[in-house]
Symmetry: none
Subunit: 149 residues, 4 copies
Amino acid sequence: MIISLDMTSGVPIYLQLRNEIVRGMGRGEIGIGERLPAVRQLAQDAGINTMTVNKAYQMLRREGIITIDRRHGAEARPAAQRETEPLMQDFRERLELLAAEACLKGIGREEFLALCRKTAESIHPYRAESKKSEESEAEKKKRKGGRRK
Amino acid sequence: MIISLDMTSGVPIYLQLRNEIVRGMGRGEIGIGERLPAVRQLAQDAGINTMTVNKAYQMLRREGIITIDRRHGAEARPAAQRETEPLMQDFRERLELLAAEACLKGIGREEFLALCRKTAESIHPYRAESKKSEESEAEKKKRKGGRRK
Amino acid sequence: MIISLDMTSGVPIYLQLRNEIVRGMGRGEIGIGERLPAVRQLAQDAGINTMTVNKAYQMLRREGIITIDRRHGAEARPAAQRETEPLMQDFRERLELLAAEACLKGIGREEFLALCRKTAESIHPYRAESKKSEESEAEKKKRKGGRRK
Amino acid sequence: MIISLDMTSGVPIYLQLRNEIVRGMGRGEIGIGERLPAVRQLAQDAGINTMTVNKAYQMLRREGIITIDRRHGAEARPAAQRETEPLMQDFRERLELLAAEACLKGIGREEFLALCRKTAESIHPYRAESKKSEESEAEKKKRKGGRRK
DNA sequence: GTGGTCTAGACCACA
DNA sequence: GTGGTCTAGACCACG
């Protein structure tokens, strides 16, 4: 897995690292249950401080995305949690921001949706989901439409 | 337009403000060509410093999202630009991150796509793209126009 | 003569106007001794305040570029002055800044010089200077080198 | 590197500072990859506020002239970019204005071009471009350097 | 009226 | 150590 960090970016390195790991897991480059590189190893490879790597790992742990075990080190967690509400709220906001920016910068609606679809395709675990479940998903969505507070 | 800022957030206030304005424009709460509040006014209303507001406005200006006219203050920009290249790259990365997070937190693929679609619907200018319901949309907007204070 | 003003620019309108007039005179669109538009006329045409036009004219007058006469209005002056030192200093600095920026942004030395030459060609009164005087100019320049007030 | 700021000038301090740095880089006083003073340091030395320095640095960063690394501070950027289109337009306009002013103030065409050439010579990276006459150019420069005052 | 700039000093996050 | 952010209040230029 390649991790690209921009030292000149305004985004803190530990956050960039955390994001890269999340995206790497999305792409399937790190499978569920698979081990992440040791803190020191990763720090050396990326040319950054171990403290920084540690910070990223701790953040992922707090988010429930990985587990950290003294014996096995860090590994991608079998993900089962779902703290629905505050989480979804954050998602919606970030997505709305992304969509608004897209719109304001001249990206058309269909283009935006195509991008969303293409991105979803690129998410490894998503590829596994077959189309049959499409219908039931549509149902779920309808229920959600009525929810809005 | 209501602007909610979280003083305890790690996200800088000026960035939160910028994001809120972008989202507000997406929602159609600020129409194209409409004026934004004066720097001082917004600063007072939001209980923040004028320089912080200024920073947000300058950022939006540099992004080509608003114009700042010495005489009339800031307003939502009619001009549509497109710097596709680095912009799209950034978009794709942010979207990929969002999708990866969604996946890891247990949001299914179809649910994710439904959320994207729903979000796109909520973007005001995007709604116009579906021409059939153009009129009823205009109606809605008018109601919103009268709602202000 | 076309005057293009950018209301959203950070450069004050009166300064933009002054610059546009200077450039217009350079291009030969306003000949020496020719009259400039009346303040009110120009203000109306450009859609700006007469005060603003006035400010630009006064600035040009102070610079010795135009004369303002109650009877004849403003007109391009037969230019004879030359307050050498502080002026040249300013020139050198601005030119140096321009060259440094060019260099830093990837414009090559020859390209820069070609641009300078091309620009000089576009200056109307400069075009009149025939090549024969090239020599005498070189002479003058040499003398000037020793001039220092 | 000496930085001279004019507190009474109409030009904002942060802009003067930015310009001085650009010119300093042109003169070769700050080499590519070299570190710039820390924000606080420069602020103290120049007797101005840190925010003012920061503003200048941020501007240079946005222009791609320097990079700012959280760990090492700011440094002259090795990367060379080229946004030709709007950039060149701006260049041409500024150069045209300069030429027009020169002309109107009595600076002859050849003198103007000589000034351009001399300025290009003074730009450090540009000097390297003239490989053939490297030596003789250096000679000329030396003489010129001595003529001042 | 508007935005733009600046200061002095403070606090924080990052590495 | 570094830069980033923020405040409160001030002053100025522009139009």
